[in-house]
């Protein structure tokens, strides 16, 4: 019984990480119809910021990671995506790949490709008693951080003027602009928010794995992207749900598959993904009224 609860906690916490990553990708897709694979590098750069600031007080490290992810998100939007805003989605997709590779190689050039150990917030590795079951503190923190960010993002989108502008832009960007919604502002805010989400994921992953390496972000983003697709591209709740399900499924398969099949757990996840898309090609929670890009 205790083992089952532990596995479930693990599944939920890993699912939460992928949900946050998928949400970052979904947010940008919503307003720009851009699948931003360079979202992974926001995660990676935030992690290397933690490494660079190692030894400083924790709040400074966190602040540094979040700031770097936001600034990098805004710079990439301005330099790489704004000039292509009227290009077709394939061009945007390819440029996001190019940007992702460029940032990865840049990092390798600056710090090398070797994996580096980083003992960030070791206190979170502690086991705690929770409702009679021993759980890792980090899992609970991960789940709480994900819930807080989801609630905050929902509040922002539903209750603020800028959030309303973002939702309108996601549905029909041209009409939103006709009404006076500022395209540059809405897109910049979406990128800044994706930077915050990326930094949160980065910090949690670094605590969990204890290492940083230049490809860490891309690996997360590819799985999370699969999550946004099965959730329904263009729908934020779909992205969160899809990311969560893919992440949680990976852990559950790891735990419950016969040992000699565990090496193929990704294959099982992708079979499940294929089945979902076969029966619900629009995703689990389809986006309503996808129209004009901009």
């Amino acid at each position: 019984m205790e083992r089952v609860v532990q596995i479930l906690a693990d599944a939920v916490s890993v699912g939460s990480l992928y949900a946050l990553t998928a949400l970052g990708i979904g947010l940008i897709f919503g307003v720009m119809r851009l699948i931003n694979f360079a979202h992974g590098e926001l995660i990676t750069f935030a992690a290397y910021t933690l490494l660079a600031l190692f030894g400083q007080p924790i709040p400074i490290m966190l602040f540094g990671a979040v700031s770097v992810a936001i600034v990098l998100a805004l710079i990439t939007e301005r330099a790489a995506f704004r000039p292509l805003r009227n290009a077709d989605p394939t061009t945007l997709l390819i440029s996001s790949f190019a940007l992702s590779f460029f940032l990865q190689k840049l990092l390798i050039l600056l710090v090398g490709s070797r994996l580096k150990g980083l003992d960030f917030l070791p206190a979170l590795a502690r086991q705690i008693e929770f409702a009679g079951v021993r759980l890792q503190l980090l899992q609970i923190v991960t789940i709480v951080v994900a819930i807080v960010l989801l609630v905050a993002l929902t509040w922002f989108l539903k209750a603020t003027r800028l959030g309303l502008h973002m939702r309108a832009a996601a549905e029909d960007f041209r009409m939103a602009r006709v009404l006076g919604v500022r395209a540059n502002k809405v897109i910049a805010v979406a990128f800044a928010l994706s930077g915050i989400l990326a930094a949160a994921v980065s910090c949690l992953v670094v605590v969990q794995t204890g290492v940083v390496q230049p490809r860490m972000g891309l690996q997360l983003v590819i799985i999370a992207f699969v999550g946004t697709v099965i959730g329904g591209l263009g729908s934020l709740s779909g992205a969160a749900l899809g990311g969560f399900l893919v992440g949680a499924a990976t852990i559950l398969l790891q735990a419950f598959l016969p040992p000699d099949l565990r090496a193929f757990r990704e294959a099982f996840v992708f079979v499940a993904v294929a089945l979902v898309l076969l029966f619900r090609p629009q995703g689990l929670i389809p986006a309503r009224g996808l129209k004009e890009r901009i």
């Binding site: 309108a168 041209r174 006709v178 009404l179």
Partner: protein, 249 residues
């Protein structure tokens, strides 16, 4: 036309999509307080003309001047702040947002939240169905209700010029009566209206002046009553349509 400078002045406007000339050297003046109608068959360039005034389509040549200021080079999202509001063809309401959120988006450029609230109350009086359904997703409204929403949303920017593209399209005649009665009320409140329609009869019933557009040009223009009984009206409107229909593959 009344004296003084026109509210909207379009001069020598040309709109091209690739090799296709959608609008060819059109001139159009609209005085404050007028209702001007543009009628013509499908593909005549009416919508292109309207989208160019709204800043959505960039002209290949010519100028658009509004309230004495040239609109050339102005960003799409800044046009509404000049005092121009658009009710586009197909309405383009935000289906997944509530009726209330759609209306608030209409007031995007305004920061006088108290006056916006007062306007909302006024519109809910004019459009009781919108008041009743303010918390529902706008996609659940009927076509006529969506048209009312699109008009109310446009009015919330407090425009000096309201442009409507095919407001009667796809609506039952009774609903169209309501929409046109509404346009009369809006004009009485001092808003200038530019109306694009295939449904010429409706336009004659409300417009002060009418232009007949075909093949990207104004074929005929003048007072509504004069155009309605003009001997060349049918030729200008229907003649071109028949020729276009004949040339289609």
């Amino acid at each position: 036309m009344t004296s003084g400078a026109p509210l909207l002045a379009v001069s020598g406007l040309v709109v091209r999509y690739g090799a296709v000339n959608a609008v060819r050297e059109v001139d159009l003046d609209i005085a404050e307080g007028e209702i001007v109608g543009i009628v013509g068959p499908n593909g005549a360039g009416k919508t292109s003309l309207m989208l160019t005034i709204a800043g959505i389509v960039a002209p290949a040549a010519g100028t658009v001047t509004f309230a004495g200021r040239p609109l050339g080079g102005i960003a799409l999202e800044d046009v509404v702040a000049q005092g121009i509001a658009l009710v586009p063809e197909g309405r383009h309401i935000f289906a997944s947002l509530t009726v209330m959120e759609n209306l608030l988006l209409g007031a995007t450029i305004r920061h006088d939240s108290r006056a916006v609230a007062a306007d909302l109350d006024r519109f809910f009086g004019m459009f009781p169905i919108l008041a009743e359904r303010r918390r529902q997703p706008a996609g659940q409204l009927s076509g006529g209700e969506q048209q009312q929403l699109a008009i109310a949303r446009a009015l919330l920017s407090r425009p000096r010029l309201l442009m409507l593209d095919e407001p009667s399209l796809g609506l039952a005649p009774l609903v169209v009566d309501q929409i046109y009665a509404l346009l009369g009320t809006i004009r009485a409140q001092g808003v200038t209206i530019l109306l694009v329609e295939q449904n010429a009869e409706r336009v004659f019933g409300i417009a002060d002046r009418v232009h007949v557009m075909s093949g990207g040009k104004f074929a005929l223009g003048g007072d509504a009553a004069e155009i309605k009984s003009h001997p060349r009206f049918d030729a200008a409107y229907f003649g071109v349509r028949m020729r276009e229909a004949a040339s289609e593959p």
